[in-house]
């Protein structure tokens, strides 16, 4: 049982009182790997709760009954992302995000999506450094179909040359769209490549183009057998469902899938960065850009929430310190924003700035350096911290309006931190963060020796400039 579990089936609710006898009955008739155990109950905000279950093949199940609308969000999160790849085979996790919508046993290519859409489902998937997730939002009366199809593709995916070849081409086009012909995408990729030289965060989730072109069917089969197993996945269900019916159907659908032996994760920690790294490139753009990446803590680190608050103080919204100076007061930039990576291992606190007119990346960097020096010297004042907290609170609450938003939040924190309700506990924790925490975080992370820079020079001149 996990440390954060608050109570077990003896919670006194109608579901809790009836649960164990119901599970006993279900388990008596369950398939080999379909026996269900209730592991506990967690609060999810003030009004909802998460019920945690597991099947005896290791599949985790998180359920939030939410009867606000006659819909259900069904997410499957796999604990595999680009960090689990190796050099020469980068982008394989992401390719799978595509292949999983292709042919499964008994359903020719295209039929999976066709059945989902016919059911009224909105389905999609995403891959990042630490995970891959598949999501469906469905009318409540179509849940059985989605359970059946998701279980089918977890164990019965068909991987053949035509499907792999076609999806490789689609992914190559996705890469052209997101990276090769996109200034920000290309520069972001270069920043991570520069900042990480040992850790698997060095390569992009979409993969290097030469790797994408080189994937074979055997690569795909190996990857599928290794990582797409019930004991490497969490099913998150949020919406207008009955717990008893859901568990019965999950047990039946996933209960024949055996667990797999998961490999040791072979990720090497990134050695501490001791000197600034600087790269200069030209890109087909009309203005200079600056991208900065400060080494930042993993999301489970005590300093991560403090750095989140600092990010808001410095870059969150028009009133933030750096935005105000660069865009509003000095008019050096048309755009400035920052992003603190929500990753399991230490990542980057990224800053993107686009210069206005003839202004240079160096001018922008000078201002950023001045502001970083200020927060290393003295912490933000109480008003700035309160505003930063309020912005983060709004962001969290606004992301929970739909069943799908709740399932995404739960699945993400479960997969990365092992705590599905961490969004709320993080927010509560932020109320306890004080100025000393912010000062420590600034001095520890916002330092020049721990950063990488990409300075982008324009390859193009606008008609105005040429004239």
């Amino acid at each position: 049982m996990r440390a954060q579990v608050e109570s077990t089936a003896q919670g006194g609710s109608a579901n809790g009182d009836a649960r164990q006898p119901r599970l006993d009955k279900l388990n008596a008739e369950a398939p080999r790997y379909g026996k269900v155990t209730h592991l506990g109950t967690l609060p999810f905000g003030p009004a909802l709760k998460i019920e945690r279950f597991t099947l005896n093949n290791g599949l985790s199940v998180l359920l939030v009954e939410d009867h606000a609308a006659p819909v259900v969000a069904y997410h499957v999160w796999f604990r595999v992302g680009s960090r689990h790849e190796r050099q020469g085979k980068t982008g394989l996790a992401h390719l799978f995000e595509h292949l999983m919508f292709n042919e499964v046993e008994g359903l020719p290519a295209g039929e999976f999506d066709r059945k989902m859409e016919e059911a009224g489902a909105e389905s999609n998937a995403s891959t990042w450094l630490d995970w891959t997730q598949y999501n469906e939002a469905i009318p409540k009366d179509q849940l059985s179909l989605v359970i059946e199809l998701e279980a089918l593709r977890m164990s019965r995916l068909v991987l053949r040359e035509p499907q792999v070849a076609s999806e490789k081409e689609v992914v190559a086009n996705e890469r052209r769209y997101r990276v090769d012909d996109d200034v920000e995408g290309a520069v972001n990729e270069l920043l991570w490549k520069t900042a990480f030289q040992t850790h698997a965060y060095h390569w992009p989730t979409i993969g290097w183009m030469s790797d994408i072109e080189g994937f074979t069917v055997d690569d795909c089969v190996d990857f599928y057998r290794t990582y797409y197993s019930p004991n490497n996945a969490t099913v998150v269900v949020v919406g207008d469902v009955s717990e008893a019916q859901l568990l019965r159907e999950l047990s039946a659908a996933y209960g024949e899938i055996p667990p797999a032996e998961l490999p040791l994760e072979d990720v090497r920690p990134e050695p501490p960065q001791v000197d600034e790294r600087r790269v200069e490139v030209t890109q087909p753009t009309t203005t200079q850009k600056l991208v900065v990446g400060y080494k930042s803590p993993g999301i489970g680190d005590f300093d991560h929430p403090a750095l989140s608050l600092l990010s808001e103080v410095l870059f969150g919204g028009r009133a933030s310190r750096v935005y105000k100076r660069l865009v509003r007061d000095l008019e050096l930039c048309s755009e400035v924003r920052a992003f603190l990576g929500p990753f399991r291992d230490p990542g980057l606190f990224e800053i993107f700035a686009s210069a206005r007119g003839e202004h240079t990346a160096e001018e922008i960097l000078k201002v950023i350096d001045e502001e970083m020096a200020k927060v290393r010297e003295a912490p933000p004042n109480a008003d700035e911290i309160d505003r930063a907290r309020a912005r983060l609170e709004l962001g969290l609450v606004a992301g929970l309006e739909t069943a799908d938003g709740k399932a995404s939040t739960i699945g993400f924190y479960e997969t990365v931190l092992g705590d599905p309700s961490a969004s709320f506990t993080r927010l509560e924790g932020m109320a306890r963060i004080n100025q000393s925490d912010l000062l420590r975080a600034a001095r520890r992370y916002l330092v020049e020796s721990g950063r990488s820079l990409v300075l982008v020079r324009p390859q193009l001149a606008t008609e105005e400039e040429a004239a």
Binding site: A68, A69, P70, V71, D113, R114, E117, E118, G120, A121, E122, A137, P139, Q142, A165, S166, E167, K168, E169, V170, V171, A172, N173, R176, D180, D181, D182, V183, E184, P284, T285, T286, T287, G316, G317, R318, A319, K324, V327, E331, S334, E335, S354, R356, G357, D383, D386, A388, A390, R391, E393, L394, V397, A398, E401, T402, A403, Q459, T462, E463
Partner: protein, 439 residues
């Protein structure tokens, strides 16, 4: 300059839409006007956008920094929206700050300060954003597609203006537009979330009372003209490995008798992941990551468009395939099996247009703003169910043209011009425009 409103007059009709939802401590608000950038005088494109953003910045006579800090402190967000037919503000706020936030919105609507230095700063900012937009190929393609398809119509004018039109804007223009457009009769307030209907209506009344009484603006624009022949615009940008390809013509109007039938037929052609376009372009050939067709609506007839982004080498073959598919759709229509499938998809997935209070309110707001026929959303499912095969195919034949259409492609002209022109049978006109022409 000041734009304070006169004393309240409660006789004007109150436009307010509310939906209470206690699920989250959050309130979503929209303050929408029945007018948009089509009011910008010719040569002064961007005026509506400058006005809305200026109002947000100098609300209550405060300076922009103060207002930004207030929004953040309250746990709120406040943005300005401008489109050809509508404009306004959208906002969200943590419920505990609701009342104070409404005061800020009252200041935004009724007490903006028209400050010359902020006005000029804003113009410079928008100019910078226009230059920044040159980096985004998809947005470049859409800009030129609208510009050429809707030439001579307000939909073809850039909402954010051009460098030249921004230069021409004067503070007096903004004040004049404010006095003309920001009147009670044009305002619709919508509230969703943890705010009771009574409280929301009181807020709406307070918001409305900040504005003058005036004339409700009526849309005067006529439908855009259909393109003449098959025309090609190449937006020339160096070093493109990929293209952004848009093909289209005029589309639908919500009051068309065949509006729903065309919507269903488009779902079959390019409206979903398993639609014809995605299957042929992406699934079978891998030519484009995205492949969709869309059919938006507005107060006047809007566009039908197909969007793909093949690599430069595939642009010619992909364009030819899409044109062949378009002709086949127009000439041969859809099948009974496809129709039955699309109806099931549309009816079932409609649940996701209604699954939150904010979405339900948004639909009601659209119905008001775009003057949709009565029951447009309430009877959506039954209207979709009622579409027959003949109606769907007649709608495609009468509304979509494979002969009079516009092709816009962003790419490196020296690489793609030959193959792209060769792919278009009966090409009646072709032009190459530089990517950085923001006129």
């Amino acid at each position: 300059m000041s734009a304070r409103a006169p004393e309240a007059d409660r006789r004007a009709p109150l436009g307010v839409i509310t939906e209470y939802s206690p699920e989250l401590p959050l309130v979503n608000l929209s303050l929408s006007l029945r007018v948009g950038s089509e009011l910008d005088p010719p040569g002064k494109e961007g005026l509506s956008e400058v006005l809305m953003r200026l109002m947000r910045r100098n609300a209550g006579g405060r300076d922009a920094d103060d207002n930004d800090r207030i929004v953040d402190r309250l746990g709120g967000s406040l943005g300005a929206d401008v489109a050809p037919s509508t404009m306004g503000f959208h906002a969200s706020v943590i419920a505990r700050s609701y009342q104070e936030f409404v005061k800020l919105l009252c200041d935004t609507l009724g007490e903006p300060r028209f400050q010359a230095d902020e006005f000029e700063r804003l113009k410079r900012e928008i100019h910078g954003e226009l230059i920044e937009s040159l980096d985004n190929d998809r947005s470049l393609g859409r800009r030129w597609f609208r510009k050429r398809l809707f030439a001579g119509h307000p939909y073809g004018r850039p909402v954010s203006g051009t460098p030249e039109s921004l230069e021409r804007l004067e503070l007096a223009d903004a004040l004049e537009l404010y006095q003309h457009a920001l009147v009670r009769e044009n305002l619709i307030c919508a509230f969703a979330g943890e705010v009771s209907p009574d409280r929301a209506e009181a807020s709406a009344q307070a918001l409305r009372d900040t504005l003058r009484q005036g004339q409700r603006s009526e849309t005067t624009s006529e439908s855009p003209r259909t393109p003449d022949g098959r025309r090609l615009v190449i937006v020339d940008k160096p070093d493109r490995t990929q293209t952004q390809l848009l093909i289209g013509c005029l589309g639908t109007h919500p009051k068309d008798l065949d509006h729903t039938a065309l919507h269903v037929a488009n779902t079959i052609f390019g409206g979903t992941f398993t639609a014809r376009l995605t299957q042929e372009v992406r699934a079978k050939r891998g030519w484009s990551y995205g492949a969709y067709s869309s059919l938006p609506f507005d107060r006047c007839r809007h566009a039908f468009s197909m969007w793909t982004h093949p690599k430069a080498d595939d642009a010619g073959p992909c364009l030819k395939l899409e044109l062949d598919m378009l002709e086949q759709w127009v000439n041969q229509g859809v099948t009974q099996e496809e129709l039955a499938w699309a109806k099931r998809y549309l009816v079932r997935s409609h649940a996701f247009a209604l699954d939150t209070a904010a979405k339900r309110v948004s639909l009601k707001l659209d119905a008001e703003l775009y003057q949709l026929p009565p029951g447009y959303y309430q009877e959506y499912e039954s209207r979709v169910q009622a579409v027959t095969l003949d109606q769907a195919n007649d709608a495609v034949r009468s509304r979509i043209s494979a002969d009079n259409l516009l092709v816009t492609i962003v790419g490196t002209a020296s690489d793609i011009q030959g193959p792209v022109e060769a792919a278009i049978d009966r090409l009646s006109g072709s032009e190459v425009v530089p990517f950085d022409d923001l006129s």
